[in-house]
């Protein structure tokens, strides 16, 4: 076998009480792949996300990151293994400045860890790297604004900035364009494309335009099961997907 | 054996009194997510209002009027105080109720001074209902038991059999959904806060004559009430009942039996240090159960929070 997949799910299941949200999901996402997960509301996309990133632990099955089982680890331990995520509902540090938000994303990765003997303002490498990411997400001019008072689109961009700051190899974005206008969506998609260059990207998305634009492969999740996992063209053509879900979504889009 | 029976009854009275406070507090917590630090202060207000009203019209009308006034005061606090602070988050809410507790104590002293009030049980209940092995059991305590049980039954009926109760139960689990259904959740909140504080007020009127009506009465009971609902499981009415009785009996029995640490240590095979008066461990050797009785609830709470944060009966983690 070749090098292990970036993310590998094997027979993954999750129940809350008696309700089974994720049923026996098996999926492999290769390194460098841009993978999208789509599905109707309530299909379990966010739960699947939370299982992979350690917020929930699976009832059954395995999650492997670069070949290593991580399903019993805490979120921060998974993050330290090179996986970073964003959230469906904006999840930033509202009472800190934009600059500080990004810097928080960098601290662990730059080996500062729990240090209380380094002054963050006196670390040229830290400041430089923060500035770079700020310019990458085009927010250098908002540097000292409190994150809580940014516009929604800016907060989403900041969230992506925090997510990629640590330099993780695997980036998982949960509905990055939810609630955005067409122009904002276009801007964010461009941004994602730029900042995840040569990284593994997993994205949950509602907007089919975004999905087909961005993804190399698409998995369709319906009622907790993956009914298809293939290239955009094949997924679009699949009768099963059409029947279960895509038809209606595509009609809406049209 | 008869002493055990007496203690069971006494513990029941204490536990049920606690429950009258805890039921309101836990309702408020489950609905609004805020631990009302000032809950025992409303209990104190109940006692003082009860005393003042009883000097004009006697105990029985006071038993009805005082809780209503306390309830209205509580509803006003929710409407004009808590609702305002609510948007800042839970920590400021908690701080607000903490400040309120301080303020109410000062206000009570402002009006009634610092001395103990001569608040007495009504003449008609001033007799021993029965006695067990020479221990008189006052009729007033029987009355307390009946009131507390009555309140529990009424609460249970309202929560499970009426429309309002169903809305409250729904609001406990799905606050947003209930709001979407068109119910006026702020009004429900205000109502629950008012009723919760009125219950505390009622407990105050009833307890005032037995436990004393003085400015420190809220502090003495306040933190214990907290402990009780945390131990029982925040938001669980059954948990509140169980924990109230547990703590009522725990304190009663701890105060009743002079188990000494010396006996325990000797049983464990340790030898008493010869120089006990100067030994660093002298306090351990002279410790008795009644001495530590009142702090047992805190110990219980710390243990529960450390090992079972959802409380004995609670479902959700705090």
């Amino acid at each position: 076998m070749s090098a292990p997949a970036a993310i590998e799910l094997e027979g993954l299941s999750k129940s809350f009480g008696r309700v089974e949200i994720i049923r026996d999901v098996t999926l492999a996402i290769a390194k460098g792949e841009r993978h999208a997960i789509i599905g109707p509301n309530g299909a379990g996309k966010s739960t699947l996300f939370n299982l992979i990133t350690g917020k929930y632990h699976p009832t059954d099955g395995r999650v492997r990151l670069n070949g290593e089982a991580v399903d019993q680890l805490k979120p921060y331990e998974i993050n330290r293994r090179g996986l970073s995520r964003s959230f469906q509902i904006t999840n930033i540090f509202p009472r800190m400045s934009v600059f500080e938000n990004i810097r928080c994303g960098l601290l662990w990765a730059m080996e500062y860890k729990y240090s209380f003997w380094h002054l963050v303002d006196r670390q040229p490498d830290l400041t430089r790297r923060t500035e770079e990411i700020l310019s990458e997400i085009n927010m250098s001019d908002k540097r000292d604004t409190l994150a809580g008072v940014l516009t929604y689109a800016e907060q989403r961009a900041l969230e992506i900035g925090i997510t990629i700051a640590g330099g993780a190899d695997i980036i998982m974005l949960d509905e990055p364009t939810a609630g955005m206008s067409a122009s904002e969506t276009e801007y964010i998609v461009g941004l994602i494309r730029k900042v995840t260059e040569s990284k593994t990207l997993v994205v949950v998305e509602h907007d089919m335009g975004v999905v087909f634009d961005l993804a190399d492969r698409i998995s369709v999740l319906v009622y907790g099961e993956i009914i298809a996992s293939d290239t955009p063209e094949n997924v679009r053509a699949s009768a099963a997907v059409q029947e279960a879900y895509l038809g209606t979504a595509l009609e809406e889009e049209a | 054996m008869s002493l055990v029976l007496v203690n069971l009854l006494d513990g029941l009275v204490t536990g049920l009194l606690l429950f009258m406070l805890c039921s309101g507090l836990t309702l408020i917590f489950s609905m609004m997510g805020v631990l009302n630090f000032a809950h025992a202060s409303f209990y104190m207000l109940g006692a003082y209002f009860g005393y003042q009203i009883s000097t004009y019209v006697g105990f029985w009308p006071a038993l009805l009027i005082a809780p209503v006034i306390v309830g209205v005061a509580g509803a006003l606090v929710e409407r004009y105080g808590l609702r305002r602070v609510h948007k800042f988050g839970h920590v400021p809410e908690l701080i607000f109720t903490f400040g309120l507790a301080l303020l109410i104590e000062e206000v009570v002293q402002f009006f009634w001074g610092k001395s103990q009030m001569a608040f007495e049980e009504p003449e008609i209940l001033k007799f021993a209902a029965f006695s067990i092995a020479g221990n008189a059991f006052p009729a007033y305590k029987v009355f307390m038991i009946f009131i507390a049980v009555g309140i529990f039954l009424v609460l249970l009926y309202i929560l499970t059999r009426t429309r309002v109760g169903l809305i409250i139960q729904a609001a406990l689990s799905y606050p947003e959904t209930v709001q979407n259904l068109g119910h006026n959740v702020p009004l429900v909140f205000m109502g629950v806060f008012g009723v919760g504080t009125a219950l505390a007020g009622l407990a105050g009127v009833i307890a005032g004559p037995v436990l004393g009506t003085f400015p420190g009465m809220a502090v003495v009971l306040g933190t214990i009430v907290f402990v009780t609902i945390v131990v029982g499981g925040l938001g669980s009415l059954w948990g509140a009942l169980a924990a109230s009785l547990l703590i009522g009996w725990l304190q009663t029995f701890a105060a009743s039996y002079n188990v000494t640490m010396r006996d325990v240590l000797l049983t464990l095979g340790l030898t008493e240090p010869a120089d006990l008066a100067t030994s660093a461990l002298r306090d351990l050797w002279t410790l008795t159960l009644p001495q530590i009785g009142p702090i047992l609830p805190y110990l219980l709470m710390v243990l529960v929070l450390a090992f079972r944060p959802q409380g004995l009966f609670g479902k959700r983690e705090t």
Binding site: K74, R85, F93, C104, L107, Y114 | R282
Partner: protein, 415 residues
């Protein structure tokens, strides 16, 4: 001033003020009050490492200060009776270490969650230790506490610390050290992540940080500085009692921090100064000072949750916009009625209190230099009328004040 020195300027000014103060207020009582202020500042700053910077609400933080203090009194006694060699100026370090040690024990289980659970555990532990202080007489000395004598140690540069002045300078130096250390801590990765966890613990976890460990570190650091405050208390008062551990002390540090403004580093400093002055001065003038304090606290939580410092801070924007002068006139216009309202309210309370509680026959009371009969309705009516008049005046001024405020905060030119 060069840019490198600019951040040091406030520290220099603070050091200068601390050095000069004893020459202005030289009496023993003034020194005692200033010493108490220094202790309270350190304690409140330590408390704010939890509340303001870590988002942890504690109802039992007096425990760490108290334990540090108790330990130091015992150290002083060992110095006195058992020939332990320990110069007094180093004592706070040991107090801090003891506070740290105890915080590490409690922190292992209390920092698992923030919010209500943390608040309740802190309350429970606080009550437990306070109750133990009565039971464990060997360490806490029962209700009369433990006392010591600070002057028994080896002299340092010829100082034996018998005089208040020497103790003041010792406290002031430790205040500077502690405040600087706490400020610097907030600028380290651990301190920054404390803010991050406060704002959004979930996000912090997905950035590689364990929220529990971040909180644990803040908690321990806070315990350390609280212990230093306790040691200074021991040096100043030479006695520690149950009072140093109980809920009232824990509650007042919460009050101080919130009053000053938990969101700012200097908030607790301002809170501690204002609170100590209120406590010492207000209680000289009125019996119901605690009522005023309660009203002030509740009003702060309701209307100015960012505290006194927040009130000052909202003027920075107009200042930077160069529009602070826009506010001068409206402030002048509302100042008099606002002051009048405050005085009228206080008068109503004082008159009502006097009428209710003064000895029979003692109907004369004096207020603000006026002497009158509190049992006569006239003074009360006069106070109420003054209050009503001031409210009416305030309401009249309010629209134009609001307008001026908006204008002062508007970045563009005159609108």
């Amino acid at each position: 001033m060069s840019d490198a020195l600019r951040p040091l300027a406030p520290w220099g000014v603070a050091a200068l003020v601390l050095a000069v103060l004893p020459f202005i207020f030289a009496s023993g009582a003034a020194l005692t009050v200033m010493n108490q202020m220094a202790i309270t500042i350190i304690f409140a700053l330590a408390y704010n490492m939890l509340l303001g910077q870590g988002g942890m609400l504690s109802f039992g933080h007096a425990v760490y200060m108290g334990l540090g203090g108790f330990f130091c009194v015992h150290l002083m006694n060992w110095v006195e009776y058992d020939n332990l060699w320990l110069p007094l100026p180093l004592l706070p370090l040991f107090g801090g270490l003891f506070g740290l040690f105890f915080a590490m024990i409690v922190g292992t289980f209390s920092t698992r969650r923030a919010g209500t659970v943390f608040a309740m555990i802190s309350l429970g532990v606080g009550e437990l230790i306070a109750a133990c202080s009565i039971i464990v007489v060997a360490f806490f000395g029962g209700e009369e506490g433990v006392s010591g004598d600070r002057t028994m140690g080896p002299t340092v540069f010829g100082l034996d610390f018998a005089s208040q002045q020497e103790v003041y300078y010792l406290s002031a130096i430790w205040l500077m050290i502690s405040a600087a250390a706490m400020y610097l801590y907030s600028r380290t990765p651990a301190g920054r992540m404390a803010n991050a966890v406060r704002d959004n613990e979930e996000r912090a976890e997905f950035l590689g940080y364990s929220q529990r460990k971040v909180r644990f570190m803040s908690f321990c650091a806070s315990g350390f500085f609280a212990g230093i405050a306790g040691a200074l208390f021991a040096i100043n008062f030479e006695i520690l009692t149950e009072e140093n551990l109980n809920l009232a002390t824990s509650g007042s540090v919460l009050l101080i921090t919130f009053l000053g403004g938990a969101g700012f580093f200097i908030g607790p400093i301002i809170g501690a100064i204002v609170f100590t002055l209120l406590q010492t001065v207000l209680s000289l003038y009125t019996e119901i000072w605690q009522l005023y304090l309660g009203i002030l606290f509740v009003a702060t939580v309701m209307f100015f949750p960012s505290g006194l410092t927040g009130l000052i801070a909202i003027h920075f924007r107009p200042y930077h916009l160069g529009k602070i002068s826009v506010l001068t006139k409206p402030y002048a216009l509302i100042a008099l009625p606002a002051l009048g309202l405050a005085l009228a309210s206080a008068s109503v309370l004082e008159i009502a209190f006097h009428a209710r509680h003064a000895a029979l026959g003692d109907e004369q009371m004096s207020l603000f230099g006026l002497s009158f009969n509190s049992h006569h309705p006239l003074p009360l009516i006069a106070a109420l009328a003054l209050g009503a008049l001031c409210i009416w005046l305030l309401r009249r001024q309010l629209p134009s004040f609001r307008e001026a405020w908006d204008e002062a905060n508007y970045a563009g030119g005159p609108s």
